[in-house]
Amino acid sequence: MSRKKLTRRQFVAATAATSAAMITAPYVRGAYAAGKLSMAFWDHWVPGANKASTDLCNEWAAKEKVDLTIDYITSQGNKNILTIAAEAQAKSGHDIFQMPTWWPHANAENIEPVNDVMDALIKQNGEVNGTVKYLGQAGGKWLGVPACVGSQIKGPCSRIDLMKKFANIDVQAMYPAGGPPKADNWTLDTFLKAAEACYKGGVPFGIGLGETSDCVDTAGAIFQSFGGHLVDAKGNLTVKTDEVRQALDYYKKLIAFLPPDVSAWDDASNNKWLVSGKGALIMNPPSAWAVAKRDAPQVAEQCWTHGFPSGPKGRFAPFLPFFWSLWSFSKNKEAAKSLLLHLSQPASVEKMVVASGGYDLPAFENLTKLKVWAEEGPPKGTLFHYPDPYKHQTLSIAASPAPPKIAQQIYFQATLTKMCLRYAQGEAMEKTLAWAEGECEGFMRS
């Protein structure tokens, strides 16, 4: 039984070595410790846009010596939200998942807070808009980093020629490329008059009233412009208010000037409406314009993306952000956070926005004036006002400010568009409101 004694000299040497290692440790970032990481991106509509994300990730992985796996998961057939549900149930899957709008909140219990990443990014890239905070924060913790990939504003995309010819509105003068908007007269009243004029001219506005996202987003923005909310931020029912009644009355008038089949429209219908040349305006990100550029260039060169008309309570535009969220069951959180920081650097963001032809929108305020939006065309400058560079409108999402878990139900059950249709089809206002109140009561279950 020999027992090795630690001399005082050895003890001091060991302590000094440990202290030196501890002091230098902060300079050795966890991500440099390599390991494995997997990331699920939303599979982009725009051909070639995925390549920019892949290149950025691989560049980071090579530098950090991380074994990185990337998957692109489509939202066609809701495959992305099905995968999110499956991974949340299995508590296994990717480390980072690109979640659409409501999903960070819906999975808040399984998500790792990224406050440290967000604090650094806000310091670097500027503040994020209110919708990003509403959808991305719960109880003071950030549930994800707003992803520029896939994030979009669904504002009006107007036909320059048809709006001039039938509504006597020069959308380019109202939203000049390179300059601030001169759109004080661009109100919901003007919008309604223009809708009527274009309807009479045989080129009605293409605004859907189905149950899919595009239809709900437009209804949401118009309701918010009147101050109409079904449920308030505290979770109280606010269906039977004058603001909601005003919004319904407005929609009833508007529906009379829309194509007769809008109740059956889905997210593809408005795109087809614009590309076919049958309509003077739709509410969509620039994907419809991009398709027109390929399939109907004569239509594309007459398209101008711009701001939403304002209502009595302000000018609201639908904003749908994606988030890169980190599952709490991820085994390489430090590396994941390092990758999220890398993807949100201004240079990375610019690469992704350029690859998407200007479709993707960064949520940070310092990143809304990239060159790409000024240069994209034809016509040149068509996307200049798409990212709302002058903060001319409040970016919002339908059903807000209701608590997100209630708002998600209102959104996906398309309660707003259903209310508009019921009322427009002749149901009494109070009956429609009572129906909506009953629906919202159901959405409040916990």
């Binding site: 809701n78 939200i81 007769p260 809008v262 109740s263 219908s269 139900q409 916990s446």
Partner: protein
């Protein structure tokens, strides 16, 4: 010590021989072999059907955040919802009318094919099965284009005769008609092929006897064909009822449950509530509500089949 060890090994070896013999005998039994051969399928069913079914039952007993057991709380909640009863009504309309017309069309077409001379019959059978062999998600996309609200090929054709435009998916009534029509188009060939097989097994002598008795065409069908086909009609209807009740793809692709929820059926509404609305327990409860309805239908139909089997 060595002897004891020897004895033990002898006993063990005798036991081993007995076990081997009994295993050998068991393997020689037809039932054992049948069980072993079906074992992979049984395991697959356990894994892909039984486990998810029990998991769905478990989910249906949880609250929205899946943190608390609520027993039948989700069902109690559903019973108070207007939309849920609309979905129940629509699922019944959808399934019963689709199965009825699939059976009727299948029966009629099976007779036509049965009467086609044997030489050309194979071609007809193959062609008529086409709707059934195309994955419904794909064929429904084609129907979606035919029914497209703005560019419907049907409306284009009808406009030549001064008819329309018909809001195929925009009006509640027409939308219900459209989803049922596509389901009939997809499912009728299954009935046709089952009825054709049944028709071929009806003894020719029965028709000859009926002809001698002076039975006309209708009487031959009513008194000979239908009684001989009753069991196959019942079983086919039951299978189809189960599949049609649980349909998802046709409604999801054509209307997504709209307009105003008037085409939602159990599966599409369960998806809307459970996956899109992130309320998985409620979605599971909606889909499980099909079970008692289908169980009652199955009990009645199978009891009838068994009764007739005993009578025979």
């Amino acid at each position: 010590m060595a002897d004891v060890a020897f004895e033990q090994s002898r006993i063990a070896s005798a036991g081993g021989v007995r076990r081997r013999t009994s295993l050998h005998n068991a393997l020689k039994r037809k039932s054992t072999m049948a069980f072993l051969m079906t074992l992979p399928l049984i395991l697959l069913i356990l894994l892909l059907v039984v486990y998810p079914a029990f998991y769905a039952v478990h989910l249906a007993t949880l609250n929205k955040s899946m943190a608390r057991f609520v027993g039948f709380g989700n069902f109690e909640f559903l019973f108070k919802r207007e939309t849920f009863w609309l979905v129940v009504k629509q699922s019944c309309i959808f399934a019963i009318s689709a199965v009825f017309f699939k059976a009727l069309i299948g029966f009629i077409v099976a007779h036509f094919v049965h009467n086609v001379p044997a030489k050309g019959q194979r071609k007809w059978r193959g062609m008529l099965l086409v709707p059934w062999v195309i994955p419904p998600a794909m064929s429904t996309l084609a129907w979606l284009w035919l029914f497209d609200p703005s560019y419907s090929a049907f409306n284009y054709t009808l406009s030549a005769f001064g008819i329309g435009p018909i809001p195929w998916t925009g009006d509640a009534g027409w939308a219900r008609f459209s989803v049922i029509l596509v389901n009939i188009w997809y499912g009728a060939p299954f009935f046709m092929i089952m009825y054709l097989a049944a028709l071929k097994s009806v003894p020719e002598q029965l028709y000859e006897a009926a002809a001698i008795d002076g039975a006309n065409w209708w009487q031959r069908i009513w008194y000979v064909t239908l009684p001989m086909m009753r069991n196959i009609i019942a079983i086919t209807a039951l299978f189809s009822l189960i599949v049609t009740f649980a349909n998802f793809d046709i409604v999801r692709i054509l209307t997504s449950g709209g307009p105003l929820d008037h085409t939602h059926i159990f599966a599409t509404w369960a998806f809307r509530v459970g996956i899109e609305g992130s309320d998985i327990p409620l979605g599971a409860s909606v889909s499980l509500f099909m079970v008692p309805i289908l169980a009652v239908a199955a009990i009645f139909i199978l009891r009838d089949v068994t009764k007739r089997g005993n009578e025979a």
